[in-house]
Symmetry: C2
Subunit: 150 residues, 2 copies
DNA sequence: TTGCAGGTTGGACCGTGGTCCAGGGTCAAG
DNA sequence: CTTGACCCTGGACCACGGTCCAACCTGCAA
């Protein structure tokens, strides 16, 4: 309840001042009122908005998606279905990342288990695996896309 | 068997020419011999090296880690234990990412299930969750570090 | 009045793994 | 001899989510 200068808002929300200005530039926070000297003045709604964004970030939403969610929240014509759509997409993204990471983890676990430790590095099954012909490791083209998304 | 120009090596390895030059700059590939005209000339060992790097990338290793693994492979004093150490670190990284992503996925699934779809967006339980006071959502400081690692 | 903490701006920079471009040189085929 | 495909270099640019900087201005306390 009340108005904050940028440093106060930053402290309240647990982010940096620069982050707040960055969010403003990115269209996540509205341009705030200013004092005569040009200082930004914020209110409780801005703190709520920042907290919303932080919660969304923790759930894996990008800033752009957070922006969309905030827009939906403010809309009086949008329905929950639009929010659900974004959420379902995020769920399947999380699912495929979990699948891919679990797969990697399993391969690494197997290799680590086989590794005796006290042999020369060049005999290490992990390096042998990495040096092996790639012909069998299947469907390169498919995986290529998901390399960025690990 | 044979020597390649950069385009041939790129095609054989399934990467771009620029990627090969980038790897050279980054110390992942040795500076190759050149023709009189300055063209880079590669051999089978370079193709093997590129394939090694690609395999390592698919297992989630960074280029820097790939470089370390290649160095260990080439060393005649290093033991497999050094490779194992890198691998174990990668495994626990994968494990914590899987935990985090699974947690997110579960929260989103729950919220999505509660969402009726045909209500105004602002009544959507997903948005309600994001707008809720953050006080309960625990241990902010701890999570903060892992935000980048999603 | 002076000092210092805070505010302002525009713009550069970070990591990661590339990708693209301009402006040139080279090489083999037709 | 020209055309086109390939090669060279140095440097800019991409996403993403910030972070930091210089150079300046403001507001409050001692």
């Amino acid at each position: 309840m009340g108005t904050f200068k940028i440093g106060e808002l930053a402290a309240a929300a647990g982010v940096g001042r620069d982050t707040i200005r960055y969010y403003e530039r990115s269209g996540l926070l509205p341009a705030p009122d200013r004092t005569a000297a040009g200082y930004r003045l914020y209110g409780d709604a801005d703190l709520d908005r920042l907290n919303f964004i932080r919660s969304a970030q923790e759930l894996g939403f990008t800033l752009e998606q957070s922006r969309q969610l905030l827009t939906l929240q403010a809309s009086d014509t949008a329905t929950a279905a639009a929010v659900l759509e974004i959420t379902l997409a995020k769920i399947s993204e999380a699912e495929s990342r979990v699948r891919r990471l679990s797969h990697i983890r399993d391969i690494l676990r197997e290799l680590a288990e086989e590794c005796p430790g006290e042999v020369p590095a060049s005999d290490c099954p992990i390096l042998v695996y990495l040096a092996a012909k790639r012909s069998s490791r299947r469907d390169e083209a498919i995986k290529e896309k998901s390399l960025r998304e690990q």
